[in-house]
């Protein structure tokens, strides 16, 4: 009886032995000597710093969604880090920064990829041997190891990408009993996982696209199922809508809610947000600015549109159009954002002793740029980027100017008082929203998300829109900072900035900044690489300084895995063509269900890869090798699938051949990993690389050079 029981127990748990062993190995590769390099490596300079902000609770701005960085902050908090180190790139960690526990906690996400790869392969019904290979490749890829060992977001991004694929395959296997508990569980888990991956980096949308494509195909097949009642079919739609759209959206928004709740102090990122949001931060003094605006005030103007910045001008001139001084929209606070409000030409000059003249709806004024004394000016010259609008420039000085310098204020409304009638002919800072109408041409000052070329420092273009669209928030402005010695400081009752509006505002700002990360065509960036270089591992990435006595890390994939994965993807198209041609020719190669399963695994791998890769080809922004790391997973699955299809499950091969191929492949992957392991784990090889693109011979030579030099080094 007992032996029977233990046999059953063994049956049940023996399946867990391989993943257990792989997990232990995975921890070993991810944690071994993790603190050896005691300096700030690669983007730890960013993400470590962002984590610190959560501990200091000061508001910052970054192009990535907050979840990953909140987790960095959490890791810091759990390790007892106080948040007072600002992670200068390349410098050594001081003793009070617990960078080792932080790295270990984040590396756990990287370590968990390996068991996930195992269980996903099992769910994909790969043969045992193929499961082993996929897991081994996940364990041994050098780039995955290397990127997991630092305070970066990539390990989390990879982890959630893996969980999404895992949950999706798990759910797929529950499809035979829809609406069961397990079915709901894994559907919900898929949605949750999508929410997380998207909240770490927007790259997570690509794996979301894979799930979306799978779902659409699934619903389409169900549409053709005549036995399914229409009510059940509708229920399928609703379940997916709830779990795959609503749930991820909630997770994504919750991460932003947490972001806003934690970061309630004024900080470096304030200016990306609306004036009202900033006023609500601890340490911000907007609310104590004088309340009502008068002639003689010095102010800054904030664009109300999502992602809007501050009206700005600087001494540099437009190289095109009028060649006058540039006027832009800019997010950083400096004195070049300050404008004096003065009377139009021909009216008496402002005298500090006269009666205060408050501004109201319909006032005509001149904006004088405080540091250059130029007047904000518009004329019939096409704007540099948005050609259909007129250009706005800085022109003249305190005494010279013309009627093109005059602007009429049109009040839209007030956030607190509502309708502009309630303002009683005054304009309030922060809450009153105004439009600026050019007096002679009738156009409206507008700053949308058109970015100026490098000569304009990639700031946002300000132009004068000929079309009057009263609803266009990009033509709305509010006064943000306000200085006027003659007015009492205000004590405005603050209106809470609504969460949804802040959420959109921040997302638009992230999108705009992300799109502005375009490479300069004249500048050779030795860290950047183009997507076409990735599949063949044409180039690696130096992750730290390259001094002679430094521990160095070189982000480089496991060549066999990368090349093999790419080959298998190309082969998959070829094989598909061959099989389809044979089918059209009425050959019968498959038993029932086999073809569908072959296609299913192939589609997950191919479209997963495709959705993660192709967007980078179209993207204008600068790309780096580590952008390929989530993509690589699907290449690995495809490679495993092909080994399975052509070797391990092939009928014509004997068991001995299969075992032989398996052992050989396994050994080669491990061997190559061993050969290169030091570039990812702890490497200290000396000065090896010349300028990257100098060696026309490319990667293989580089690899050999790594090994030659490495043999002569000890650890530092």
């Amino acid at each position: 009886m007992s032996s029977h029981l233990s046999g059953e127990l063994y049956e049940e748990y023996s399946e867990l032995i391989p993943p257990l062993i792989y997990t232990i190995l995975s921890c070993y590769t991810r944690f071994y000597h993790i603190g050896k390099a005691n300096s700030v490596v690669w983007d730890e300079a960013h993400f470590g710093k962002f984590g610190s902000y959560y501990l200091k609770r000061s508001f910052y701005f970054d192009v990535h969604p907050p979840l990953g960085k909140i987790l960095v902050g959490l890791a810091g908090w759990l390790s007892g880090y106080d948040g007072n180190y600002d992670f200068p790139s390349g410098s050594a960690y001081p003793p009070e920064v617990p960078y080792i526990p932080m790295r270990v906690m984040l590396a756990m996400f990287g370590a968990a990829m390996v068991p996930l790869a195992w269980f996903t392969s099992v769910e994909l019904h790969l043969s045992k041997k193929a499961c082993h290979l996929v897991t081994l490749m996940t364990l041994c890829d050098l780039a995955w190891i290397c990127i997991s060992r630092f305070i970066l977001l990539d390990s989390m991004l990879l982890f959630f990408t893996f969980t999404t694929v895992f949950c999706m395959t798990k759910w797929n296997n529950q499809q035979w009993r829809p609406f069961s508990f397990d079915w709901w569980l894994w559907l919900g888990m898929t949605g949750w996982s999508i929410g997380c991956v998207v909240s770490v980096k927007w790259v997570g949308f690509f794996v979301t696209a894979l799930v979306g494509a799978y779902t659409i195909e699934d619903l389409w097949e169900k549409f053709g199922d005549l036995k399914m009642p229409i009510r059940v079919y509708i229920k399928h739609w609703i379940a997916r809508g709830l779990c795959l759209i609503v749930l991820p959206a909630i997770v994504y928004m919750a991460s932003f809610k947490a972001h806003f709740m934690i970061l309630n102090h004024s900080g470096s990122g304030d200016s990306q947000m609306s004036s009202l949001f900033q006023a609500n931060l601890v340490g911000n003094d907007f609310a104590t600015n004088p309340l009502e605006i008068a002639i003689g005030s010095k102010v800054t103007f904030k664009n109300v549109g999502y992602g809007g910045g501050l009206l700005h001008s600087h001494v540099q001139t437009y190289p095109v159009g009028s060649l006058q001084q540039q006027v832009t929209c800019y997010h950083y606070k400096d004195d070049n954002n300050n404008f004096n409000l003065v009377r139009p030409w021909g009216h008496p000059e402002y005298n500090p002793n006269e009666d205060l003249e408050f501004l109201k709806d319909g006032s005509v004024i001149r904006f004088q740029h405080a540091s250059t004394m130029r007047n904000l000016h518009a004329h019939m010259v096409a704007a540099p980027v948005t050609k259909e609008n007129w250009e706005i420039s800085g022109y003249g000085n305190a005494t010279t100017g013309d009627h093109n310098d005059l602007w009429q204020l049109e009040v839209v409304d007030d956030i607190i008082l509502g309708n502009k009638k309630n303002l009683k002919d005054r304009i309030r800072s922060l809450t009153t929203r105004i439009r600026f109408r050019h007096l002679t041409m009738g156009c409206y000052m507008r700053a949308a998300n058109a970015v100026l070329p490098p000569w304009g420092f990639k700031q946002v273009e300000v132009s004068c829109d000929k079309e009057n669209n009263p609803k266009d928030q990009h033509t709305w402005w509010n006064v943000e900072s306000h200085w006027n010695d003659r007015l009492p400081s205000g004590n405005q009752k603050l209106y809470k900035s609504p969460f949804l509006s802040d959420f959109w505002h921040l997302n638009v700002a992230m999108m705009t900044s992300n799109n502005a990360l375009v490479p300069d065509p004249d500048k050779e960036d030795i860290l950047a690489s183009t997507p076409s270089e990735w599949p063949w591992l044409h180039t690696g990435l130096r992750m730290c300084g390259w001094g002679d006595d430094q521990i160095k890390f070189y982000l480089l994939g496991h060549p066999l895995i990368w090349w093999g994965g790419t080959l298998s993807l190309i082969l998959s198209l070829f094989i598909l063509a061959v099989y389809m041609l044979r089918m059209q020719r009425h050959y019968v190669d498959w038993k029932a269900g086999e073809w569908d399963h072959f296609l299913y695994v192939g589609k997950v791998a191919f479209f997963g890869w495709f959705f993660h890769y192709v967007p980078f080809l179209i993207m204008g922004r600068v790309t780096y090798l580590h952008h390929y790391l989530p993509t690589l997973y699907f290449a690995v699955i495809m490679l495993g699938h092909f080994f399975d299809h052509f070797v391990f499950s092939a009928r014509r091969l004997s068991e001995n051949v299969k075992t032989g191929v398996f052992i050989f492949t396994y050994a080669v992957i491990v061997g190559v990993w061993w050969w290169f392991k030091d570039i990812a784990i702890v490497s200290a090889f000396l000065n090896l690389f010349g300028t990257r693109r100098n060696s026309a011979s490319g990667l293989p030579v580089q690899l050999i050079r790594i090994k030659i030099h490495e043999s002569s080094i000890g650890y530092h």
Partner: protein, 750 residues
């Protein structure tokens, strides 16, 4: 685990014997299966067309129909040729295409974004009319002098526009539509104001549409032959004609590539069906495949290249297109050739230095200073030959430079990593760089480059440049070790700043005469920091020393280079135009193009709204119907077993794919687009309208069908008449003009 049931069937060339033999659908359903009742009746009558099974190209036209067709052509001639000489001045893009005819006549090289065939045809007409090429078509509205045969030049597009009409008729008949349908379709083409306007002027679109229509017609004929019997003489003829016509359409405008794609898709469908037909042995299938590859790939490419060969043969002289081409290419033009120059570069050589990656030209300096930065003398790239492009190579000593007499000193070759200086011959200043930002590219990794020095000043270390040889010419073995004229491509690294001499397609403002900016770049992109020496003289080199020159490029390399230049120029046409439009606005005919205005008369390109909107409605109808069919098929309805539905699905599907392929790619193009880019797609949409008419009236009696067609034709002709003053620049009252603005966005009356 899955592996248990993963066993795949062994290789099986045929289905296992246990299965019942599969029901192979016969390759071609019986030909009259789709016919409706009255047609079957007609067929059963004596003297019907049934006997002539092997009609040429599947066209079964009774003799009365040929007379009808002749009548339509006469009508089209009247509509297209009426008052062709008016306006008697340059209209819209006649500015370009008229001018190009002049360039062909003088043989002066020019560069345009379109392939040459249509322009060569226009030139042919101009030559027939005795055009001497002197008139320059400078601007819209310029009156034609009496010696410019502009009417004859316009008659070529006009006649090709007429040609589209019978092609539409025959194509619809070839697609097995009824004569009434073909009549409707061809008259719609005839009275489409936009097509009329576009074909009455010296423009390329009319030839383009003609060849598109011809291609579709030939393809339909070929498909019919293929149905009847493959590999007959007629079959080969139609296939070859399709290929020739494809070559012609791509040689008019690159939009023709969409026609190639359309035929490509249709061919793949044909081959795929043939593959599934087990009565076609692999060997025969291969023959099918190779025949199509030969006629539809090789033949069009040959035509395309032949047209370019003619283009190069005609344009032998240097002209205003030189600047787009590489130096080797320019060498092949008369008047641009360079004399042989000495090969060995040494200290004291007087050289010109040329930038590799841009066509900006030669390193240049002139006696004007930068208004910014250091205020020293400007350095630019200048595309033309000029004495200010000449520099002397000196040794790069960091201090003190004795006077050299290069005529007597021993020759010292310039080798890799040597430090040298460049002295500007006419101003005696030296090429110089320093930690000052350049005038336009004001970024931290760029340094200004200037010419610096004064008499008696020996120079400083900021004048020194290190030669870094990048690659040599494989035909010249010395060129990778030391500088050789034309052979060596190298970079110049500034000795102190470590930056590279660099230039890019950025123009200096007016003070720099809009010449190209030269900088010294610390993170230089390699391609833009490569230079080579084009000419070289040295006092000690005489007639007996080795000389070099550009190698004359082969036809293939010139052909490829020109196509590359056309591509980049085309992609660079991104500026907005006052009358440009985006593809989504074409479907609803949102706005036309102002071609010509004078004395209150107007040529305004706008379609015939009735025809235009009907055609869009036809596309939408088919897409909706096809979508419904897909949904129904998924729900296991057997609509597609009905040969009537299948017939019309095939006709409409082919035309809709043609429409789609000629329309959709414009969405992903960022270049400036115009309404007339929709015309090839419009042709497909109009044929589709006719096909849908055929489907909708198939249950009608012939007389009623003819009456319905009549009503539609009358509506189209009335609208054509209504808008004809815009098409023919006729007289119009202000009121009528305002009343004709059916949509607010039509901006022809101001």
């Amino acid at each position: 685990m899955a592996s248990e049931f993963r066993a795949r069937g062994a290789k099986q060339a045929s289905p296992p014997a246990t299965l019942p033999p599969p029901q192979y659908q016969s390759r071609y359903p019986p030909r009259d299966h789709h016919l409706d009742a009255d047609e079957r009746k007609a067929l059963a009558q004596p003297g019907s067309l049934k006997q002539s099974q092997h009609a040429f190209g599947g066209l079964r036209l009774a003799s009365s129909e040929w007379k009808l067709l002749a009548g339509i052509v006469v009508l089209a001639l009247c509509v297209r040729l009426y008052h062709l000489g008016w306006p008697a001045s340059v209209v819209f893009d006649e500015v370009h295409f008229g001018k190009f005819a002049g360039k062909y006549i003088h043989g002066r090289y020019y560069v345009d974004v379109h392939p040459p065939l249509a322009k060569l045809l226009i030139t042919f007409m101009a030559v027939l009319g005795g055009f001497n090429g002197e008139f320059d078509f400078k601007e819209i509205g310029l009156p034609y002098p009496s010696d410019v045969p502009y009417v004859l030049m316009r008659s070529l597009p006009a006649l090709m526009g007429v040609g589209v009409v019978p092609l539409a008729y025959l194509t619809l008949r070839g697609l097995d539509c009824r004569p009434a349908t073909a009549l409707l379709g061809s008259l719609f083409i005839t009275f489409e104001n936009g097509l009329i306007t576009q074909s009455r002027l010296i423009l390329l679109d009319s030839p383009l549409i003609f060849f598109t229509a011809l291609t579709v017609f030939c393809w339909v004929g070929f498909s019919n032959e293929n149905h009847q019997e493959p590999f007959t003489e007629d079959w080969w003829l139609w296939l070859a004609l399709t290929g020739l016509s494809l070559g012609a359409v791509a040689s008019c405008k690159w939009v023709g590539l969409f026609t190639i794609a359309t035929i490509g898709v249709a061919t793949m469908k044909q081959l795929w069906d043939l593959l599934g037909d087990l009565k076609v042995p692999p060997r025969v299938w291969m023959k099918h495949f190779l025949a199509r590859a030969l006629c539809l790939i090789v033949l069009p490419i040959t035509v395309y290249m032949a047209v370019f060969e003619i283009h190069f043969m005609v344009l032998q002289n240097s002209g205003d297109g030189d600047g787009f081409m590489s130096a080797q290419f320019q060498q092949s033009l008369k008047g641009k050739g360079m004399h042989d120059t000495w090969a060995d570069i040494s200290l004291g050589s007087e050289i010109t230095l040329r930038h590799v990656n841009t066509q900006g030209g030669y390193l240049h300096s002139h006696e004007h200073n930068y208004p910014t930065g250091s205020n020293q003398q400007q350095i630019t790239l200048y595309p033309h030959k000029d004495g200010n492009n000449n520099w002397r190579i000196l040794a790069g000593h960091s201090e003190g430079q004795p006077d050299h007499d290069f005529a007597t000193e021993p020759i010292k070759w310039v080798s890799n990593l040597m430090s040298i200086r460049f002295e500007h011959i006419s101003t005696k200043r030296r090429l110089h760089s320093h930690d000052v930002r350049p005038p336009v590219s004001d970024v931290d990794f760029q340094n200004e480059v200037s010419a610096y020095g004064f008499p008696g000043f020996v120079g400083d270390a900021n004048d020194n440049w290190i030669v870094e040889i990048e690659y040599g010419d494989s035909h010249d073995k010395h060129s990778s070790g030391r500088l050789r004229t034309l052979g060596t491509v190298f970079r110049l690294r500034h000795a102190l700043q470590g930056c590279y001499l660099f230039s890019h397609k950025v123009k200096l403002p007016e003070w720099g005469f809009e010449q190209q900016e030269v900088t010294c770049n610390k993170n230089a992109v390699k391609a833009n920091s490569l230079w080579y020496i084009e000419t070289n003289e040295h006092p000690q080199l005489g007639e007996n020393d080795e000389k070099v020159n550009y190698r004359r490029p082969s036809f293939l390399s010139r052909f490829l280079e020109l196509n590359h230049v056309m591509w980049t120029t085309n992609a660079g046409l991104t500026d907005r135009h006052a009358f440009d439009s985006r593809p989504e606005s074409w479907l609803t005919l949102k706005r036309g193009i102002n071609f010509w205005v004078r004395d209150h008369r107007h040529v305004y390109l706008i379609g015939n709204p009735v025809i235009w909107w009907l055609s869009t409605a036809a596309v939408v109808t088919y897409l909706l119907a096809r979508g419904l069919l897909v949904l129904r098929a998924k729900r296991q309805y057997k609509d597609l077993n009905n040969s009537f539905i299948v017939k019309y699905d095939q006709i409409c599907g082919f035309l809709t794919i043609g429409w789609f392929i000629h329309y959709f790619p414009f969405f992903i193009m960022s270049r400036q687009l115009f309404l007339h880019h929709y015309f090839p797609a419009l042709y497909f949409a109009i044929l589709l309208t006719a096909a849908i008419f055929d489907l909708a009236t198939s249950s009608f009696k012939p007389k009623i069908r003819l009456q319905v067609a009549g009503v539609l034709i009358v509506a189209a002709v009335w609208t054509w008449w209504h808008f004809s003053p815009l098409t023919y620049a006729g007289e119009w009252t202000r009121g009528k003009c305002d009343a004709a603005k059916w949509r607010k966005t039509w901006d022809f009356s101001w």
